[in-house]
């Protein structure tokens, strides 16, 4: 696909909140097109660069749902600093796998896993370093405003490439039928 390089490289931040890193793996799955992407954008805060705080950016790609206080903090930081926020994958868009705990009480789950289960350690972890779990797991658009959504679990490398090049090229992003998936 031909994308005219923008005058200035766009800045992109990425993060995985409560996700499995599958969406980031899909980003790597664009293979040699990564080199083309590197001509168009520069990565700011991202597991790819290991930069831990986010400066002013054009695009944020968010993988994963919001399940604890740290997720909320990171998501808000990216929203504040980025012009376009993109929810990537089932967890960011719908809560996905992490949200499967939402039908139960979080206290009961902790009690069951850490105290009641055979072989459990006998007490719920309470180290002050640990981020507090939220009562429920939330899709990111229930916490901040989200501009774009790329469905899939994970979206394929081709889907990500099509969507990103549309965004960077200033077109309304679309996915072809075979790339538009919830599974």
């Amino acid at each position: 696909m031909n994308v005219r390089p923008p005058m200035k490289k766009l800045k992109v931040a990425t993060t995985s909140l409560s996700g499995c890193f599958g969406c980031h793996m899909s980003l790597l799955d664009i293979d040699e097109r990564l080199l083309e992407l590197a001509k168009l954008v520069e990565f700011d805060r991202s597991p790819i660069t290991d930069i831990k705080t986010c400066g002013p950016c054009d695009i944020a790609l968010i993988e994963g749902a919001v399940c604890n206080s740290e997720n909320v903090h990171v998501l808000r930081e990216l929203r504040r600093n980025c012009k376009m926020l993109v929810a990537v994958g089932a967890c960011a868009i719908t809560g996905g796998l992490p949200a499967q705990r939402n039908q139960r009480d979080v206290g009961e789950i902790l009690q069951r896993c850490y105290v009641d289960m055979p072989g459990a350690q006998g007490r719920v972890p309470d180290d002050p370093e640990l981020p507090l779990l939220l009562d429920k797991v939330y899709p990111i658009n229930e916490i901040v405003r989200v501009d774009y959504f790329i469905p899939g679990c994970p979206p394929s490398g081709d889907a990500l490439w099509k969507y990103l090049t549309d965004l960077i090229g200033g077109r309304m992003p679309r996915l072809d039928y075979q790339s538009f998936r919830f599974d």
Binding site: N102, Q103, N141, C153, R174, Y177, F180, D183
Partner: protein
Amino acid sequence: MTDIPNSFNLDGEPIPFEPGQTILQAALNSGHFIPHLCAHPEFKPHGSCKLCIVVVNDRTGASCTMKALPGLEVQSDTPDLNHRRRTLLQMLFVEGNHFCPGCEKSGNCQLQALAYDLEMFNDHFTHFFQPREVDASHPDFFLDRNRCIMCELCVRASRDLDGKTVFGLAGRGRDLHLVVNSASGKLGDSAFAKTDRAARVCPVGAILPKEVGFAKPIGERKYDETPISQLAFTCDWEG
């Protein structure tokens, strides 16, 4: 008496019909797709999901319940109506618990297929995340109420074709739920059998056969390659 031909216009195209047919039936019979979920050619129309919404002579209505009449001007595939359909789908998605990546129906599901075809990128509304009961008591079938969209197809199939009335809906509003006709309320204690028509009618993954799982892998399923709007005329109408 003048002879008015039995034909109406759908998005500007003439659609022939047999007297007594609904707008949806006539459209599907002539190879024109109108999205629908609770309608099924074997059963009396139910008119509840409203996915089949059309504008007829400037008034909106459900095309699965409106009779075709000569000379009607019907609009269906318009940006406004497709936007409304997307909103209805989003409401269905947040009301239940639809975790497609973990659902055995994924790729064969009509709700999901319509969401694909209408490019529903997100669920828009706040998710209910309501606890809903799963019933695995039957030896051959699961009942997963998390995915039920209350279309009553199983209710109609069991009552009208199987003569059993295994299923019914109870409650109102967000408490509306599928109930099973047995002393314990469990499917395993009901008259339900795997040969029932009701076992093969669910458009989503709420009534699912056991021991099938992902025998046909994700990616090779009914709606993975071809949109439901193109398959509706060839598919076997089975859940």
